[in-house]
Amino acid sequence: MKSSVITFPGSNCDRDMDVALKKFGFNNKMVWHNDIELPKSDLVVLPGGFSYGDYLRCGSMASKSKIMQSVINFAKSGGLVMGICNGFQILVETGLVPGVLLRNRYLEFICKNVFVKLDSKDNSYFKNLDKDILEFHIAHNEGNYFCTKDQLKEIEDNNQIAIYYCNKEGQIEDQYNPNGSIKNIAGILNKEKNVLGMMPHPERMIDESLSGEDGSLFFKNLINNIK
């Protein structure tokens, strides 16, 4: 399985994602933001970080990078595109997924483990996962997902909400919402379910010495789904 991770100026989880993808069997290539052509890929990842220093708005300048036209075309032709953290912010700026990401409600960067509940499993990312509640890790300043009422209705109707912040038992309540996201949303899909944007970093949870191992479950399942 071939994957590509895009490096923008200011990306800083690109290496971590490369390590994770390779660990679980992807043949991964790093792609420079100024390139025009995307290598042949089964999965394209927009990694976390501070692309363009978060200038203007998080993700907005990266969304106009040269490579992004190819990424958008790839997504529109049904290719799998996953944006993590800053990658999610870039995805909303391209319009590939609806909504926006505002500053966290307490106006502070948060780095900690959280639990997320899977909602829709009819997509290549979460299909066949045994667990419904995963322990993931977040590290962001602007992860407060927001969209209009109409958009919300639409994404709910289309089962586009991928994961919600919850507690260990899977209860989705405001007290388990780390950043103020509308409806505790931690990640969403596009209408066609081939583009996923989420704030948590599965690549930071790929062995037991790190923050946890649920990232391993995620990647193992992902490569099996793509095969």
């Binding site: 100026p9 200011g10 800083n12 220093g53 948060i110 780095c111 890790h137 690549e203 010495s209």
Partner: protein, 730 residues
């Protein structure tokens, strides 16, 4: 502008220093030259009050590749790998403008590390604020934390450990010390020594602006009522540019184009060019019209003294300019050939086709002033005779609650949750433990680091305090299973011109030297920050020690959380009941006098090495050193983290229970072992003549302190975790 003594004094120079400059130059300096002298001769750059004493520190060892004198220290961690590390202060700017002050402190120390070719792999910090009740404290704390996070998070370097304290002596002078560790191959370390004639001198990074002019001079003066006016001397950081600069420099360093490289830190282009020339015993010629400037009409004086951030100066091999330029173009960074090395041994500056400065390099470095300041020796305070009757009124649970929720003991999660501590995917021990630990990427090794200071002990008796901080750093590394290798120090003190403050400095340094020598824990880098005082009042002496150690197999790392029910809990090291200067004495009894606990270096070494050998044999399930707050505080933290209880045995020790639980005797650790291993562990400890006692047994929940006192883990947790959250949201 005409230069005279008055102008020199306005530049922070003393009258006799100005006379010395005129004598060395055999003429009156022009304004640019005066600016250069003032930047190089201030306390911050010249170490004129401290040099004499710093010489006494042990800086060599089998594992030391590079000691003090370079951008950072370097130690050997085997297999061809090395760790580059250093701690540095950014105190003055952080008080004036906390966000930018702290952010650029973090940026500066990371640059020091990657200048040497190392990729930063971990950040730490030691931050100290005034009393929680002081009107500025909350704003400063918030600003500093946001600044540290803002810079480190954007760079993508995990912040893995730190220390925060509050004390009214910092009301007018907060401390912000930032430390970075970087990883490099031993044969790819870069130094700042220029070599060869007519080699191109390259400027890379951000453009030069008018920010930070005279920053180093500001950092070498005391504060007064008009301190807010100094805001323009605080630099403004841009972590995005630094991230690009890091990647571009490492890309260039992969080849063999660089002869010498130096970041532009304090005193910017001035100190970087002069230091490279001085180390290479060369001259340097710079055309200031070639320096990329952010603002128009900048004068030579401004260009030379700007402290704009994210800039580097490089001496390249001839003919490598195009190759280097390509890399910096790729990363969208400025690149300019601004001069060359010469054999004049002078720094010669040109602007608009005129020579605007010509100074022999040695006058700026070797001939810089060095002072043997007067200092007063501190007497060891008399021990306080505590009345046992006073203890009778105390309820243990209430005392424990007060100590666990004390602002200097309580959990600092509110702070470290704002730092990305997991990026780079190698953090295996997060903040909140004895040390932070990161794996050496792609290997089985891990590096542990901690940062410590004990201003109260140093204030009570500087010599003992200096020793204690080094010992605590050593213990924190051992507690996670790391073999301590070396330290970096950040020496924060009041005015060296005050005999008491200078005495504190001299004796703390002596204590640090003594302990690091005995423990074979040499000092490889550091910095001195004097003039941490407002008007006549200095801070408590606060040397911060950053320690680094190696764990050969990261699977053997130890954490402090209690692991398993029915395991036994032991204390290593003797509890004598030293209450003077303990948190208990200072806060519960309100007794602020007395000597700090004695540091017995033989016991420190013996206890620490014995524990390391037990860890090596696999007997230790959890460990934690005993420090501020004493034995019961340490046990509480192990319970909270492990979410397990403990039933404490009645101590056979003859001292009063209160003293047993809250004394701050040194050289002690709490360990957890399997009951079956008790015999073997006892044998080893006995053989090494290490004093130990059985404390109790791990149970499912609740802490039974004695027959009458029970505390639940939830209670312990709420004592320990609530204070800072409440304080920051009130």
């Amino acid at each position: 502008m005409l230069v005279n003594e008055k102008v020199a004094i306005e530049h922070g120079l003393k009258s006799d220093e100005y006379k010395k400059i005129c004598k060395l130059l055999k003429r009156t300096p022009n304004i640019t030259e005066l600016g250069i002298f003032s930047a190089m001769w201030n306390e911050h750059c010249s170490y004129k009050s401290s040099r004499l004493h710093l010489k006494k520190l042990p800086t060599k060892g089998k594992k030391v590749i590079q000691g003090p004198g370079e951008n950072a220290g370097v130690i050997d961690i085997e297999d061809g790998d090395a760790i580059v590390f250093k701690i540095e202060s950014h105190n003055h700017p952080s008080f004036i403008e906390p966000y930018q002050g702290a952010a650029t402190g973090v940026g500066g120390i990371m640059r020091d590390v990657f200048t040497m070719g190392a990729r930063p792999i971990a950040n730490l910090n030691s931050i100290h604020f005034g009393s929680p009740q002081h009107k500025k404290t909350k704003t400063l704390l918030r600003g500093v934390v946001h600044g540290i996070g803002g810079y480190g998070n954007c760079m993508g370097i995990p912040t893995i450990a730190g220390q925060t304290s509050f004390d009214s002596s910092y009301n007018g002078n907060i401390l912000v010390n930032a430390m970075t560790l970087g990883l490099v191959k031993k044969n790819k370390i870069f130094y700042s020594k220029a070599a060869g004639l007519n080699k191109p001198v390259i400027y890379v990074g951000s453009k030069t602006g008018r920010d930070g002019i005279h920053g180093a001079s500001m950092a070498s003066a005391s504060f007064d009522d008009k301190i807010e006016e100094k805001k323009p001397t605080v630099q403004v950081g841009d972590p995005f540019t630094e991230k690009l600069l890091l990647e571009a420099c490492l890309e260039l360093m992969a080849g063999d184009s660089i002869i010498a490289i130096q970041d532009m830190g304090a005193a910017g282009l001035t100190s970087s060019s002069i230091e490279m020339a001085s180390k290479g015993n060369l001259g340097i010629e710079i055309n200031l019209n070639k320096v990329p400037c952010r603002e128009s009409k900048m004068t030579p004086y401004e260009i030379m003294l700007s402290e704009s951030q994210e800039r580097m100066l490089i001496v390249l091999e001839n003919g490598k300019e195009d190759l280097a330029k390509k890399i910096f173009d790729k990363w969208n960074l400025d690149f300019a050939v601004i001069g060359k090395t010469t054999n004049s041994k002078n720094i010669e500056l040109f602007f608009d086709n005129e020579q605007v400065a010509n100074i022999p390099v040695n006058t700026l470095i070797e001939n810089s002033p060095m002072y043997d300041r007067k200092w007063k020796k501190a007497k060891l305070p008399k021990k306080i005779k505590f009345k046992k009757d006073d203890y009778k009124k105390l309820k243990i649970k209430e005392v424990l609650k007060k100590i666990l929720s004390h602002h200097n003991v309580c959990s600092k999660e509110w702070i470290w949750q704002q730092y990305d501590h997991t990026v780079m995917g190698d953090t295996i021990q997060k903040p909140g433990g004895d040390s932070g630990v990161v794996r050496v990427h792609g290997t089985n090794k891990a590096v542990a680091a901690s940062v410590d200071s004990s201003a109260v002990y140093c204030w009570a008796h500087p010599l003992t305090g200096g020793k204690q901080v080094v010992a605590e750093s050593w213990r924190n590394l051992i507690s996670v299973g790391a073999t301590p290798i070396a330290i970096t120090n950040c020496l924060n003190f009041g005015s060296p011109e005050n005999e008491d403050n200078m005495g504190e400095f001299v004796e703390c340094v002596e204590g640090i030297g003594e302990a690091s020598k005995y423990l074979n824990f040499p000092v490889v880098s550091g910095n001195v920050s004097f003039y941490n005082q407002t008007k006549e009042v200095g801070i408590k002496p606060t040397p911060s020690i950053g320690g680094v150690g190696l764990i050969k197999n990261y699977q053997n790392m130890i954490t402090m959380n209690f692991k398993e029910i029915n395991n036994l809990v032991l204390v290593i090291g003797k509890t004598e009941g030293h209450i003077d200067q303990s948190l208990f004495s200072r806060t519960i009894l309100d007794e602020k006098n007395g000597p700090p606990p004695e540091v017995n270096l033989f016991n420190e070494k013996n206890n620490g090495e014995s524990l390391l050998s037990l860890i090596g044999k696999g007997y230790i399930k959890s460990a934690h050193d005993i420090s501020l707050g004493g034995l019961l505080t340490s046990i509480s933290k192990m319970c909270i983290k492990g979410d397990k209880g403990i039933r404490l045995k009645k101590s056979k020790n003859l001292i009063h229970e209160i003293e047993y639980f809250f004394a701050e005797d040194q050289g002690r650790y709490i360990i957890e072992i399997k009951p079956d291993d008790l015999k073997e562990v006892s044998k080893i400890l006995d053989k090494n003549s290490v004093h130990f006692e059985e404390l109790g047994i791990i149970i499912e929940k609740d802490m039974f302190i004695n027959e009458k006192t029970k505390v639940t883990i939830d209670e312990l947790r709420s004592y320990n975790t609530n204070w800072l959250n409440k304080y920051m949201s009130s």
